[in-house]
């Protein structure tokens, strides 16, 4: 009897929890097809908000800018994060290691308002001295990459820790130079982690409001800034359409990538089995 109760209580708790996590997402998708203008009351199916979105220059150009920044951020974060992860994992002793460790992980816990404010004050000082940079794509990229690097470091570092280091030693013994070892042995070993770090920092950048708001200048509003300023004013059905479209893209991406990962895993276990057989 207790086992039975335990099981059903567990199922109930999990269902309610998932319901809580998914209700807002479902609501956004459903109401993107609502024909009503004002409130969130269903008044019939309509695609008008998608049509309105196509004519919404502010959102469209914001999306273009966001996309460019996200691509650059993901690349920059992965490169810098790989450097940092490599340093943290391989170089246990060097002058300033404590400071380095602190600086790598601090952006993860510092409120974004603080990071944004301090970066902006620095950029203003730099601008006072040198007359550049203008606030826009580059400055937003700087902030996003600082944050993205911290995430990329965590992802890459955990993979580096798991990696079998004797492979690198073997390559070294066979006469590889350090650069060759890195590009021929280390990188292929951590490429999955690099892939997930890239995707993670890409979405992080695409979604960021606070850093972007501090670091953007006039005429360089990213999509989240546009959405945020509208959301502050009230409900805007076009935002629901944006949400539904992102959810569509994400679902396709997640399904495709999990299919791909499953295939890679299958291949790998097949190879392992073949290797074990000799």
């Amino acid at each position: 009897m207790t086992r039975f109760l335990h099981r059903w209580f567990g199922r109930g708790w999990l269902s309610l929890g998932y319901l809580f996590l998914y209700i807002p997402i479902v609501v956004l998708v459903v109401f993107s097809f609502n024909s009503s203008r004002q409130d969130m009351v269903w008044s019939g199916f309509s695609l008008q908000w998608y049509a309105a979105l196509l004519n919404d220059q502010e959102i469209l150009s914001g999306f273009g800018l966001s996309l460019r920044i996200a691509l650059l951020t993901a690349c920059g974060s992965v490169v810098l994060g790989t450097f940092a992860a490599f340093v943290l994992d391989r170089y246990q002793r060097f002058t300033g290691r404590t400071l380095f460790t602190g600086m790598v992980s601090a952006p993860l816990v510092m409120p974004e308002v603080i990071i944004g404010l301090s970066l902006l004050l620095m950029l203003v000082s730099v601008q006072k001295m040198f007359g550049f940079p203008e606030r826009g794509l580059v400055t937003i990229w700087l902030g996003h990459t600082l944050l993205g690097m911290a995430y990329a470091t965590v992802v890459v570092q955990s993979r580096l820790q798991e990696m079998n280091k004797s492979l690198e030693e073997a390559a070294m013994d066979l006469g590889c130079r350090p650069f060759q070892v890195f590009f021929l042995v280390t990188l292929p070993n951590i490429k999955q982690a690099l892939g997930s770090a890239w995707l993670l920092t890409f979405t992080l950048s695409l979604d960021d409001v606070v850093l972007s708001a501090f670091l953007s200048g006039p005429g360089s509003s990213t999509m989240p800034i546009v959405i945020f300023s509208r959301a502050r004013l009230g409900l805007d059905p076009r935002v629901n359409a944006v949400a539904a479209l992102t959810i569509l893209v994400v679902s396709i991406g997640v399904i495709a990538s999990s299919l791909y990962i499953a295939r890679v895993e299958r291949l790998r276990s097949k190879q392992l089995a073949a290797a074990a057989k000799g």
């Binding site: 998932y18 170089y91 816990v109 510092m110 404010l117 004050l121 959405i227 949400a243 992102t246 997640v254």
Partner: protein, 301 residues
Amino acid sequence: MNFLKNLFKQPGRNAVIAVPFLWLTFAFLIPFLIVLRISFADLDSGDGGPFGTLLTVADGILTLKIKFANYLFIAQDELYAITYLNSIKFAAITAALCLTIGYPFAYFMARAKPAMRPVLLMLVMMPFWTSFLLRIYAWKGILANNGILNSFLLNLGVISEPLHLMNTQFSLIIGMVYAYLPFMILPLYANLVKMDVRFIEAAADLGATPWQTFWRITVPLSKSGIIAGTMLVFIPAVGEYVIPELLGGPETLMIGRQLWDEFFTNNDWPLASSVTVVVILLILVPMAIFNKYQAEQEARK
């Protein structure tokens, strides 16, 4: 000298260290030093404003100009005390609620059939891939006076007048718990799934009731997961800006919003900088406790 000698001994290694080190110095450390410097300045003091130098040499005398006026202002103005306390209060409530909801959630996930676990885990991670901003925005549509929840309850006849839910403590806390719940579930799940079930079986064999087993075996064994999850929720929640701005009301003023207003609306950069420095100190303490705890855990392994 030793330092310099080491510097040139391994040029490749040092170059690898230098790239991220210089980047972080430029993009993280220097900005904070600038904030610290500006926090000691006056808005308009006639000496170059907040960007002037702190050190001046006049008549051969070196003067260090540090003004504590901003900090005194923060200490004396009741508004700031309320704002800081509010931030801690709402972050603590959020962390407590996330733990209450998230612990059983993670527990039942970890006790699910092994084949089901990856699916359950994936379902917790999935919302992360949808924009955080849009998910918070959705709560506005749910909780608004003419929103989904109210029209649902009105149609059912449970209430005769729409409930005022938006821009209250209630809506703020719902949004915060919603956004931070996965940060509680994931570390707890990782901890609980690794737990050795033999301890639980042994407790049952020795006659413990399920409740006793849970409180005396499972919970103590998952202590590190509880602490990690609580910190992962509490620390970022203190500085949250977007959720209070979209879902909070006048009585839910939190420090992130205060900072933003000071900076963008009042344009008082020195004061905003001082507020920032205080927030950093406020966050560094729990972080230091957390790090110390983690280091102890590592040492025990």
